[in-house]
């Protein structure tokens, strides 16, 4: 199984995403934003970082890079695509996922270990989880507040396209579960066919006991292997 990891100018967590792919048992293949070449990969990860410095809007410039045209076309044919943090922002800017990510409500960058509730365990990237499972992975962003017009949010919820939602890691402690003011605590969403998933938290930073708060993040990467075997 070959999983592509795209490097845009300013991508930062591409090494981490590749490590997570490897630990999940697949072969990471590095893809360059400026090429029109998906190298026959079976799935693609858009990693976190600050592509183009997050200048203009996070993900806006990267979404218009040559390789993204190929990603969009392939995704429409069912290629599994995962966007993490900046990758999620790119997918929204490229029109593969609904909504937009904007400046956090408290106006600060925030990095912390984050509780998440898995609401969809049947997308290409979440079958290793069970619906309703609580997991902990790091979140770190300055422009991670998920927004959309209220009617669009209603439609998303109605169609069951919220994949993960922010929850407190210490329920009852009064610590706000929502790290950035995202509408309806939305942390990640999926395309209508469940093949494209974007989320702000960083599962690739929760794949080893040594360096992560948990190994819960590995599930996203093992899920796509199962999805590909099944396909």
């Amino acid at each position: 199984m070959r999983i592509g990891v795209i490097t845009f100018p300013g991508s930062l967590d591409d090494v981490d995403a590749a490590r997570a792919v490897r630990l999940a048992g697949a072969e990471p293949v590095s893809l360059w934003h400026g090429d029109h070449d998906l190298k026959d990969v079976d799935a693609v990860v858009l990693p976190g970082g600050f592509s183009y410095g997050d200048y203009l809007r996070a993900g806006a410039i990267a979404a218009r890079s040559p390789l993204m045209a190929d990603v969009v076309a392939a995704a429409r044919q069912g290629l599994p695509v995962l966007g993490i943090c900046n990758g999620f922002q790119v997918l929204c800017e490229a029109g593969l996922l609904p909504g937009a990510l904007t400046r956090n409500s408290h106006l600060h960058f925030r990095n912390r270990d984050q509780g998440l509730l898995v609401e969809r365990a049947d997308t290409a990237w979440t079958t290793s989880f069970t619906q309703g499972q609580r997991i902990v992975v790091p979140v770190k962003n300055g422009e991670g507040r998920y927004v959309a017009a209220p009617a669009d949010l209603d439609r998303l919820e109605g169609d069951g396209r919220v994949v993960v939602r922010y929850v407190s890691t210490t329920p009852g402690s009064g610590v706000d579960g929502n790290p950035n003011g995202s509408s309806r605590d939305i942390a990640g969403v999926t395309s209508a066919d469940g093949r494209v998933v974007g989320l702000m938290p960083h599962p690739e930073h929760a794949v080893e006991d040594l360096t992560g708060p948990s190994t819960d993040g590995l599930g996203f990467f093992t899920s796509v292997l199962t999805a590909m075997v099944a396909a």
């Binding site: 967590d13 090494v15 990095n111």
Partner: protein, 608 residues
């Protein structure tokens, strides 16, 4: 003080006729008596006289600008060098691959890996524009590490502000923290620790000290020197603009009349995205063996990089200043030489490798331009519009600046301070205890540390709120390093010798208790004005204390930075030696985190 306009009686070059005020080497030779604003540029009478003696004539405007910046306290260490020698006298350590004098020291950590680390201050700019000052401070120290051939892998920051509830702290602190985070996060460098302390002496003079650590294979080491006649000098990274040259504007006003160029900002704006591209381009360039020498551009910009590269090499250097890509076409040659525009580097490249070098830069969208070459002989020459405006022996600019052994005096209030007895009654003790536990210094730091990415690169084993940051550097062997950065200025105020040693001991213990073996020391010495004998005494004592402490512990000092003139009016900050200790973990999986792990564990107290 304004120069008398000279008729274009020199060379008939059209460009020169268009700029009748251009001060060339030729003209300087013919007009020895022109008054020059050396005092406004911070040069003393005897310093100016020495420049004239070195050159055998008056300096040109551009040369005057170069000498004045390179001979400033900031670049020449003129007040501190006599004391810093103590670090050089420490016994040699087998682990030390490159010691003081280079951009950063390099330490062998085993398995063919080396680590380079250094801490540097950006205090004054952070007060003027907190966000950009702190951000460009991080950017500067990261380029120092990159210059050694290393991939930067983490940062730390040590911060001091005025009273926590002072109105100005509310302006400066959030901006500084956002700037440290904004730049480091955008570069993809985990922040693995630091300090945040408050004291009234820092009101109006906050301290922003940033540390960067990088890793390289032994054979990847790069040095900052220009060798090989005919090799090209390549400037790459951002364009040169009018940043950070506020001080040289006296020269601009000398060359242009009333409505001359816009007043230059003293503030530099950071562009971390460009720096990230610069890092990736450099690492690719190093891996392909495309450079023979490299230097980052920081304070004093092109003046500093060219004179240091040439001074460290065996030949001379010829620069064509017209080739420098500008952001602002109205810059004067002196301003181009002085500009502190961020995110620039300068490399020495063999002619046959220039194309490949430029191709790597193009891949990363990094602007790169050949601006000169290494020459035989021993002069640094700089031309502008076909005219020679600089012709100097580079060592006199970069290495042979003035040195002072300034007068010192033990502070008059020290006896009284030291006599302040510990509390004797239980009521006093209670009050002191309450003061300590309610101090903002002891408050939870997560408001700050949550603004820093600790996870990026996936090798952070320990970070805030641990006492030391721990990083894995090899995924197969689990080789790793630990770092701690500490500086208690209250101890140093009471006794700078012992205070510096206590700071060293704290950083050393923090590294050791994580399970690492301490290997090397870096430091940033933040003090008041060296022209105040009491401050100079504090400085000398702190250096002596640190050197003696390092000798006792068997650790080399691999580098550091001195920041003087930290004061508001006549009031100096508390002497603040910030000490960083690096240690090595043979196996990071055996690191020891802080705190209790399980019920029923025994608690032991070690030491006296």
């Amino acid at each position: 003080m304004t120069a008398t306009p000279h008729a274009a009686d020199g060379p008939a070059d059209a460009a020169v006729r268009a700029m009748p005020d251009l001060d060339t080497v030729d003209r300087a030779g013919r007009t020895p008596d022109d008054a020059q604003p050396f005092a406004e540029l911070g040069l003393k009478d005897d310093e100016y006289a020495r420049i004239r003696e070195i050159l055998g004539r008056r300096p040109t405007t551009a040369e005057l600008a170069m000498y004045s910046v390179m001979w400033s306290e900031h670049c020449s260490y003129k007040s501190s060098k006599v004391h810093l020698r103590r670090f050089g006298d420490l016994p040699k350590s087998d682990a030390l691959l490159v010691g003081m004098g280079e951009n950063a020291g390099v330490v062998d950590v085993g398995e063919g890996y080396a680590v380079t680390f250094k801490v540097e201050s950006h205090n004054h700019p952070s007060y003027v524009e907190p966000y950009q000052g702190a951000a460009t401070g991080v950017g500067g120290i990261v380029r120092d590490i990159l210059t050694m051939g290393a991939r930067p892998i983490a940062v730390m920051d040590s911060l001091r502000f005025g009273a926590a509830d002072a109105p100005d702290t509310a302006r400066v602190l959030p901006g500084v923290v956002a700037g440290v985070g904004g730049y480091g996060n955008c570069l993809g460098l985990p922040n693995i620790g630091g300090e945040l302390l408050f004291d009234e002496t820092y009101a109006g003079n906050p301290l922003v000290n940033a540390l960067c650590v990088g890793v390289l294979r032994h054979e990847e080491l790069q040095l900052a020197k220009a060798e090989g006649v005919g090799n090209k000098v390549v400037l790459f990274g951002a364009r040169t603009g009018g940043d950070g040259i506020g001080g040289v504007s006296v020269l601009a006003s000398e060359t242009f009349d009333a409505e001359g160029p816009a007043k230059r900002p003293a503030v530099q704006v950071g562009d971390p995205f460009t720096e990230k591209l610069l890092i990736e381009a450099c690492l690719e360039i190093f891996a392909a063996g495309l450079v023979t020498g490299i230097q980052d551009l920081g304070g004093a910009g092109i003046s500093c990089a060219t004179s240091e590269l040439a001074a460290a090499g065996s030949g001379g250097m010829a620069i064509d200043l017209d080739a420098v890509p500008l952001r602002d076409s109205t810059l004067t040659p002196a301003e181009i030489l002085m500009s502190e525009s961020q995110e620039r580097m300068c490399a020495i490249v063999e002619p046959g490798k220039v194309d490949e070098f430029l191709a790597v830069c193009a891949k990363w969208d990094v602007l790169a331009t050949v601006i000169g070459e290494v020459t035989d002989g021993d002069r640094l020459t700089i031309d502008w519009h076909g005219e020679r405006i600089v012709d100097v022996p580079p060592r006199t600019v970069a290495l042979e600046g003035p040195r002072y052994d300034r007068p010192m005096a033990r502070p008059a209030d020290l006896d009284a301070l030291q006599a302040d007895a510990p509390p004797s009654s239980s009521a006093d003790l209670r009050a002191d205890w309450l003061a300590v536990v309610s101090s903002p210094d002891g408050a939870d730091k997560s408001w700050v540390t949550e603004q820093y990415d600790r996870y990026v690169r996936g090798n952070t084993v320990l970070a805030q709120p641990e006492d030391a940051g721990v990083l894995r550097i090899d995924e197969s062997s689990n080789l790793g390093i630990a770092l701690s950065l500490d500086g208690n200025a209250r101890y140093a105020r009471l006794d700078p010798y012992t205070g510096a040693q206590l700071n060293l001991a704290e950083a050393y213990r923090n590294v050791a208790v994580s399970g690492a073996k301490p290997l090397a020391v870096t430091n940033c010495l933040n003090f008041g004005s060296p022209e105040n004998p009491e401050v100079m005494w504090q400085f000398a004592e702190a250096v002596r204390g640190l050197a003696d402490g390092c000798r006792e512990l068997g650790l080399p000092v691999t580098g550091g930075n001195v920041s003087l003139y930290n004061q508001t009016g006549d009031v100096a900050i508390n002497p603040t030696p910030v000490i960083g200790v690096l240690g090595v973990h043979a196996d990071v999986t055996r690191r020891v985190p802080t705190g209790w792990r399980a019920d029923g564990e025994s608690v032991l107290l070690l030491g006296e």
